[in-house]
């Protein structure tokens, strides 16, 4: 039998990585099992990148509680983990009397939830915040912010690894057995893992793990959302996220959000897709994005299109109330040493660390944990050439001449950054992995200039053959080999 772990976390998304990081504060042998080849490949990487305020859900929900806690602490988190983030605020705008009534309802909820600093503002005040945003009135939510979900999840995972946790990619959990001593035997396509504790952070697949662990067998009722990413040129015209007034059923139509890197996201559209997982962009929803997006943002222009993507959210309908279930952190006596997180969707990014702390509490409720004296909450990211002033750029090139070679022209990413990304502590070697760590190929030419360089670097730095280079997952090969 191989290594025995104290805790295995299933799922390397933002929540699983936050759980691993928070658990690494204690003397525990931890590993994270992730079926994909990198962190942040499911729900965590396919969303709007918002630091939510807590106004969107009712008080007394775990999701609201975690969201507000996560929102309030994010300056500290961002500085510990070197995650760019901006508390830019957010506007929920409305036009006409009908929408005013609905917005006032939402505003009341904001007051009840005690969302810091929220205000009802009029047209002139909207214009003074951002002349490009339009509305007769709006709720201004100053505590909302934006961050890059990839950077944040990678930062949590790297900090967990730096503090002793292990990550196993390409390890899909296929079954869980419990032996007589109460140890879990987790089967994966990469072998068996033996552990005293299991935490289910499997996101879209959490319902499946839930059943394996002896918790309820939920039926997912997933939601698909399509997005359009706009050029940074459009980003100059949007300073904060803008939401329309929720429609009569309480859902939001397409909204527009600036990203921390300066692009604009338009979306998501909302479509219930039941039990399937579907990442395909559709013409129907592209048309919806254009129609509704243009209402929110006058620069919703074809010339600014960079890329589309789809997010899928794991929602579960509560069988009694028929409403969406709240975040679940479950333990039960018949399944000791298992913590089951299900229905973690929005605002999961904002709530990841608060959820992780609650997981730690569940563990502590059953056993005493000893602090890891060597735990260091500080993680440093790759120093970005593009973010530096002239002196800073000069200094970087002096330290490492690879900073003097631009590989990605659109995002101004250098060879030095690509090299560091390829030697990441998680051991990720996909082209998407480099992209998420550096932004290389995320610009308007979509890798037209840099992709040849990135794939060449994977060969040079990691000693891979052409056929072994993967875009993002097993089977997603880039090349068939040499030219004759």
């Amino acid at each position: 039998m191989g290594t025995q772990y104290d805790i295995v976390v299933i799922g390397g998304g933002v929540v699983g990585s936050a759980v691993a990081r928070e658990l690494s504060r204690y003397q525990l042998k931890i590993c994270v099992l992730e079926k994909e080849l990198d962190v942040c490949n499911g729900v965590s990487g396919r969303n709007t990148g918002l630091l939510h305020s807590g106004i969107l859900h009712e008080k007394n929900l775990l999701r609201t509680e975690c969201c507000m806690e996560g929102n309030a602490e994010f300056e500290q988190v961002a500085s510990e983990l070197d995650v760019p983030f901006k508390r830019c605020g957010k506007l929920i705008v409305g036009f006409g009397e009908e929408e005013k009534k609905r917005l006032e309802g939402l505003y009341q909820r904001g007051l009840e939830n005690e969302i810091p600093g929220i205000k009802m503002i009029d047209h002139d005040e909207i214009k003074s915040l951002d002349p490009n945003i339009d509305g007769d009135f709006a709720i201004y939510v100053p505590s909302a912010g934006i961050l890059c979900p990839f950077t944040y999840t990678i930062a949590l995972a790297e900090n967990a690894v730096e503090n002793g946790a292990e990550y196993y990619f390409d390890h899909e959990v296929t079954g869980v057995e419990k032996d007589e001593e109460g140890l879990f035997h987790i089967s994966t396509n990469g072998g068996e893992f033996v552990t005293r504790w299991v935490v289910n952070c499997a996101g879209l697949y959490a319902f499946r793990i839930s059943e394996m662990l002896g918790f309820e067998a939920y039926v997912p009722n997933r939601i698909k959302g399509e997005y359009e990413i706009l050029d940074k040129k459009a980003g100059n015209f949007l300073s904060m996220p803008v939401y329309p007034t929720p429609n009569e059923s309480g859902a939001f139509d397409v909204h527009v959000t600036p990203t921390i890197d300066g692009n604009v996201l338009v979306g998501p559209t909302i479509e219930t897709i039941g039990t399937k997982i579907d990442y395909a962009v559709t013409q129907k929803m592209i048309d919806v994005l254009v129609e509704q997006g243009s209402r929110m943002f006058s620069r919703m222009n074809r010339d600014y299109y960079i890329r589309n993507y789809v997010g899928v959210f794991p929602t579960i309908e509560d069988p009694e109330t028929h409403k969406e279930m709240d975040f679940q952190i479950q333990t039960k006596e018949s399944a000791p040493h298992a913590v089951n997180l299900v229905c973690i969707n929005s605002p999961g990014l904002t709530s990841a660390l608060p959820l992780a702390r609650r997981v730690v509490e569940k563990v502590k409720a059953q056993e005493e944990l000893t602090a890891n004296e060597k735990f260091n909450p500080i993680r440093k990211g790759i120093v970005k050439f593009a973010d530096q002033d002239e002196e800073g750029k000069q200094r970087l090139i002096e330290q490492d001449p690879d900073y003097g070679e631009i590989y990605c022209r659109c995002e101004c990413v250098t060879r030095a950054e690509v090299k560091q990304a390829l030697h990441n502590v998680l051991g990720v070697s996909t082209i998407s992995g480099v992209k998420y760590r550096t932004r290389a190929s995320m610009g308007r030419c979509q890798g037209g200039y840099c992709e040849t360089r990135l794939t060449q670097m994977v060969q040079e730095e990691l000693g891979k053959q052409k056929e072994e280079i993967l875009l993002n997952k097993n089977g997603a090969y880039m090349f068939t080999g040499e030219v004759k």
């Binding site: 359009e228 990413i229 990442y279 395909a280 962009v281 559709t282 013409q283 592209i286 074809r302 299109y305 960079i306 890329r307 589309n308 993507y309 050439f385 002239e390 750029k393 000069q394 090139i397 002096e398 001449p401 690879d402 900073y403 003097g404 070679e405 631009i406 022209r409 659109c410 101004c412 250098t414 308007r444 030419c445 979509q446 890798g447 037209g448 200039y449 992709e451 040849t452 794939t455 060449q456 052409k466 993967l470 875009l471 993002n472 997952k473 097993n474 089977g475 997603a476 090969y477 880039m478 090349f479 068939t480 080999g481 040499e482 030219v483 004759k484």
Partner: protein, 412 residues
């Protein structure tokens, strides 16, 4: 900070031709900044022939064509900085480049923009479907095959009939891949007739006009596409959908002049060309900043890129001698048959060459350049198609006033 008379951004065919011509005209203080490790620009990967018929009267491969200019630039001892990427350009003509030796800043008296163009991507077109690997822009596939000796796939579908896509259809076939079909959304080819003949017809590769890829399938590597016929409104016609399996989708759906630095310098762009507004000297609306080649408007043949850059040198020389060029206040307007035109403004004092493209195939047609009732120029084009650039010279002595010049195309 270094000071230079001329900084040329981009050492491809346009930049090299401009440099050599400037030197011939007596300008000595020139610096070419090139981001690649070698000069030559996109021609480095264009190993097929067909270059140089107009400029040199013989057919050359891309590398051979560019080598002629590289040799000239070397002989003339024009200074070249390679592996250096310009990351900023200001309206007072300060160039900042990232190099392994540090950040280089140069104050130039004149700037020549010759950065070329980039390819339109899947994202820019918002093609629906999944996002598997195996989707390549034609130029990227060309770079992989010809510069990195890397094969991108075996069962190929090509979307768009741009010239690079056609060239790649042939290249991939010769390397053992099976090119199943080329789909073009327009009712006519985007590429040159000779490429349709030599790259598709000669290899029995079918070209479907008025067809578009409307869905991409594949969870990991691309597995297939859905193609549909499109109507006159460019929308797919329901019921015409067909599925094709493939392991590679090559996109050849247009080129966009790469003007990020031009914008940084405050240069105004023309929505039609996506390049700068220029006068007959190829000066942009920022004094002392000039542009030529594919950064200005996408050309059909590199020969015309070189010729345009050589013509630009005269204007730059004039600017260096007197810190200005003659004011160009006469605007040039076009009718709806014309997609774009260069230059957009002239002085009326100099002969100049007009470059334009028609929006749709028009067959034999007459182009009339007029100023009010005065016909400045009238010329017959035997077969006007969007794939081919139309060029003709306009004599200054026919321009009678500062009134705007109108250009119209009439089918004959």
């Amino acid at each position: 900070m270094q000071k230079r008379d001329v900084v040329i951004i981009g050492g491809g065919p346009a930049g090299l031709a401009a440099a050599a011509e400037l030197k011939k005209r007596g300008v000595d203080d020139i610096l070419i900044i090139e981001r690649e490790k070698q000069l030559g620009g996109i021609l480095r990967q264009c190993i097929h022939d067909g270059f140089g018929l107009t400029r040199f009267g013989q057919t050359l491969s891309g590398p051979e064509y560019s080598q002629r200019f590289i040799d000239q630039v070397k002989e003339m001892q024009i200074e070249v900085l390679t592996n250096a990427t310009v990351i900023d350009l200001t309206d007072d003509k300060i160039v900042t480049a990232d190099t392994r030796d540090g950040l280089l800043q140069v104050q130039a008296r004149a700037i020549i923009l010759t950065m070329g163009c980039r390819e339109r991507t899947r994202g820019a077109l918002a093609i629906p479907g999944q996002r598997p690997s195996g989707i390549y822009n034609a130029g990227v596939a060309q770079s992989y095959m010809n510069l990195y000796n890397t094969m991108v796939g075996k069962e190929i579908i090509i979307m768009g009939s741009g010239d690079i896509g056609l060239i790649m259809a042939r290249r991939m076939t010769l390397e053992g891949a099976h090119v199943k079909a080329v789909f073009e959304v327009l009712p006519y080819p985007s590429g040159l007739p000779r490429n349709i003949e030599q790259c598709l017809n000669d290899y029995n590769i079918p070209l479907y006009l008025s067809h578009s890829v409307i869905n991409i399938k594949g969870d990991t590597r691309i597995e297939g596409v859905t193609v549909a016929e499109v109507g006159p409104d460019m929308k797919p016609i329901p019921g015409t959908e067909k599925d094709f399996t493939c392991d590679t989708l090559v996109l050849s759906v247009g080129l966009i002049p790469e003007n990020e630095l031009s914008l940084a310098a405050g240069v105004t762009l023309d929505g039609r060309t996506k390049g700068a507004f220029v006068d007959e000297n190829f000066q942009t609306d920022v004094p002392g900043v000039f542009a030529a080649g594919n950064v200005l408007h996408v050309h059909d043949l590199v020969d015309f890129v070189s010729l345009e850059a050589e013509a630009l040198a005269a204007g730059v020389n004039e600017y260096l001698n007197s810190d200005e060029v003659a004011p160009c206040d006469i605007e040039i307007e076009t009718d709806r048959n014309i997609g774009h035109i260069i230059p957009q403004k002239v002085s009326g004092e100099k002969n100049f060459r007009m470059s334009m493209r028609v929006r749709k195939p028009m067959g034999r047609c007459k182009i009339i350049v007029s100023q009010g009732d005065n016909t400045v120029k009238s010329t017959i084009v035997p077969n006007a198609i969007p794939a081919e650039m139309i060029q003709f010279d306009v004599a200054a002595d026919k321009i009678m006033s500062n009134e705007k010049i109108e250009v119209s195309v009439y089918e004959q």
